[in-house]
């Protein structure tokens, strides 16, 4: 049985539906990300789990018990807010101790658990610091310690890393993952950053306009996107217009000068979606001209104009000579590296 279960949850504000038909089963100890652009309903869903909003329809269950019937203060969830929402008039230790105080944990045990929680997030020795005297990263750690010290049944993270600079964010991602693995708390992360979602989660829930587009492991959502939205949102992708040619036997899928055996179940115009790093320069394939070539250290980024429209290609900087700007090339990829959808590209 699922640990945390959302069953056809919906939220309406007046006539506007913000979340619709949201169903998800989260296993114990799983790390789930809600990924989507702003306004896709991911934060609203998180707030319904937290209890700050009531769902218009549907049920939320934790270990089989109806969570919506429980007051937010009694749900025992740990939440890290985007703004951290630390109590500025309390020291780091007092902030972390607050939840334990509310649970009437004896003073001695409280002090020990606060010390351990701060040490776990790497803030040993910062007990008496006030939040406004700490850096963004340190405040973030206090917020995490404050949420974890109460041993929450579920940890909810609302864009916790979005206020940090890029370098710090990467460090925190690794640390967050390690902490979560160590203590095994079921975690839900809300983010609009696809890299964050992919590097942290066991499974990603891709959302758009209040609906779930796809639920899957990071590899699944990246390699086999269920919709055009998912393939566009998770990393860069090339969409080429192609057709199924049934005149030849066996039938072939044709995109410009590139062709391959047609996959089953398609006919007429289709869209072929290929990741830029899966395209290589070959002797045969889609004819293209390189418009710009950008060196990015560990890889090259090519922007090409192909017979099927603009294309981007990423090549590892493996020491081989790369084609120059203005050169004509042939783009080729293995059939298993593409995904095919019915209809022309949007």
């Amino acid at each position: 049985m699922a640990y945390l279960e959302l069953d056809r949850v919906a939220k309406q504000f007046g006539a506007q539906t913000v979340v619709d038909d949201f169903s998800l089963a989260v296993g114990k100890g799983e790390f789930i990300s809600f990924l989507g652009p702003s306004g896709c309903g991911k934060t609203t869903t998180l707030q319904m789990i937290a209890g700050f909003l009531d769902p218009t329809r549907g049920a939320i269950r934790l270990e089989g018990k109806d969570l919506t019937a429980i007051h937010p203060a009694k749900r025992g969830l740990g939440i890290v807010f985007q703004s951290y929402a630390l109590f500025p008039h309390m020291s780091a230790a007092e902030n972390v101790a607050f939840g334990l105080e509310m649970r009437n944990v004896p003073r001695a045990e409280r002090a020990e658990r606060v010390r351990a929680a701060l040490a776990m997030v790497g803030l040993a020795g910062y007990e008496d610091r006030h939040p406004r005297r700490m850096s963004g990263g340190q405040q973030q750690r206090v917020a995490l310690a404050r949420a974890l010290v109460i041993k929450p049944s579920v940890l909810l993270l609302d864009e916790p890393l979005s206020n940090l600079d890029a370098k710090l964010r990467e460090d925190m991602q690794i640390e967050l993952r390690q902490i979560q693995r160590t203590i095994g708390t079921t975690t839900i992360l809300v983010t609009h950053d696809q890299n964050e979602a992919m590097s942290l989660s066991d499974r990603i829930v891709v959302m758009s306009q209040g609906r779930i587009e796809q639920i899957g492991t990071p590899e699944e959502t990246y390699e086999r996107p269920a919709s055009a939205f998912v393939s566009q949102f998770l990393g860069k992708t090339n969409d080429f217009a192609a057709t199924i040619d049934r005149t030849s036997a066996p039938a072939r899928l044709v995109a410009g000068s590139w062709s391959a055996p047609a996959p089953a179940g398609f006919s007429g115009p289709v869209t072929v979606s290929v990741r830029p790093e899966r395209i290589g320069f070959g002797d045969a394939g889609l004819a293209a001209k390189i418009v710009t070539r950008i060196f990015q250290g560990n890889h090259w980024l090519f922007q090409c104009e192909s017979e099927c429209g603009p294309a981007i290609v990423i090549r590892q900087n493996d020491g081989q000579t790369q084609p120059a700007e203005g050169e004509t090339v042939r783009l080729a990829w293995r059939p298993e590296d593409m995904s095919v959808r019915a209809g022309a590209p949007a």
Binding site: A85, L86, P88, H89
Partner: protein, 299 residues
Amino acid sequence: MTAVADTAPQSAARERGPRTPWALTAPALLLFVGVLLIPLAMTVMLSFHDWGQYKGIEPVFILKNWHEIATDPYYAEMFWRTFRIAILTTLLTAVLGAPEAYILNRMSGRWKSFFLLVILGPLLISVVARTLGWALLFGGNNGLVNKLLMSLGVIRAPIPFMFTETGMVVALAHVMMPFMVLSVWAALQRLDPQIENAAMSLGAGPVTIIRRIIMPQIMPGVLSGAIIVFSLSASAFATPAIIGGRRLKVAATLAYDEFLNTLNWPLGAAVATLLLVALILIVVGSNALIERRYAEVFR
């Protein structure tokens, strides 16, 4: 700094002499000195002059007026009353104004702006008109509320309001309320919008949230509002003059009477100076205390 200012020729900045700031502020400075500092200095000097029923003001330096204020218990009573009224007014505005601002802050869009207008509305009406309104409601046997309550048999005698300290505190609190509400409101704006949710998720109930999370953070706002209300109440003239009249004087009405009725300008000046000095000491002192106590919240 705007981009325009940044790209302004450097030479222009160098040509400006050290006197330029003085020249630019001179008009305002002159006005300030002319209409505030000089009259103030003259008032302080006036308080050391002599006065007699028949000889009028004599420009000599004596401590007669200050000695009279220091020794005559009449003045002590007057000043105690002034500060008692100011303190009670401050407490009343804090007790009513802080929750008012909190509730206002939690209202949604349209209601919020409507009620903000209701709270600030009194500022648009003259203090005299507002205080006379209280007099119309509670003024002796003819006061509207008194008449109504007496005809309903709720009370036998009219509620004493005019010429009482209670009446003065109530009327002053009404006048001062916007200052307290605005001050607490400003403090509430600085709160993290998620802070109550954060406390709630950690298991705090509504009372705990207000007591442990909200109150400590808006306290600086309450206290700075208190300083404004206290100093304005202690030096208020119109409200005490209408509610208290000649029977229940405070420092400001006392100074007025000495100037315009007794014509003892030096004594009036001494009263006014003492009120000013006392207020400055209280305000500066409590401000320093607040800033030290709430250093973390103010950062």
